[in-house]
Symmetry: C2
Amino acid sequence: MQISGAADLFQHHASLRSGSSNQYAETGAGARACAPARTYCRRMRAQDLAEDFPVVTIDSDALAAARLLAEHRLPGIVVTDKSGKPCAVLPASQVVRFIVPRYVQDDPSLAGVLNESMADRAADRLGGKTVREVLPEKLDKLPAAHADDTIVEVAAQMARLHLPLIAVVKDGALLGVITASRLLAAALTH
Amino acid sequence: MQISGAADLFQHHASLRSGSSNQYAETGAGARACAPARTYCRRMRAQDLAEDFPVVTIDSDALAAARLLAEHRLPGIVVTDKSGKPCAVLPASQVVRFIVPRYVQDDPSLAGVLNESMADRAADRLGGKTVREVLPEKLDKLPAAHADDTIVEVAAQMARLHLPLIAVVKDGALLGVITASRLLAAALTH
């Protein structure tokens, strides 16, 4: 997945695997070719489903990160540290939180009584801030799939954590990302 | 958004508004035209952001619903009753749950010990079932935005409930759907 623009801000994760040719090639994933075509490969693992995906570093501009997600209609973004090690997964529903004033997050009933000029400053609220500054105060342990997890293991974790995407790691390094729709497509292909 | 195929199974929500011409026209939304271009319209409400979106009825085929989501990379689907009244919002992360055997949902550690032939039957698991049969047993009250909710109200609700999309209702009827990325795009447009 090639994301144009904002190249100075965002790292585009380069797949560690290349040149693979298989039924998922159109999505840019590095799945191993396998047959038969009517059921998904019995040996398919998380690493075979992991796709290239735009990631943001934790010190990126928060407004640019939100725009990246909005413009490309992404289900979420993976946040990495400076070394490229994934440290958070931000679903789109949580990026949306960036535009909600803190006091409304604490008491949603206040949203209705915001005057319009205050509501209008949603974009300004992110200006000059980094992703680190707008992340939830308490970050859960990075929800990640291991490279050799099965489809059902990934699905169970995704469902339990209500995540639209999950990072796939191997030895602490990011292999790629699996989105919920990608997982479904793989599981239901026949 | 025109979804081809499966027309017998899925209702494509017809917008109640038509002919509008504005900055969001390319997404099929019925937002009112408003200026200036550098900030989003101060009077923008949920009904202005609501987009046409594929919905499934609660008695639709569950496998076809999952395929619809996978093929079109949707962030989720809205489930309606026979009369078209929305009754549930299913994020993609919860549709993924459909392919996880019940006993693994109850005890995720069992996913790792599934033998491969059991894991392979994920697609078969949905065969012949309806959406109603695979919905979570306890459905929360439909998380919906009201037509006149502000962007910040919708964002606060979306973030609080961790939803990638939200139904917009007026007098109990579905006006359309707002996705998280759509909301961000509207809030950050300038």
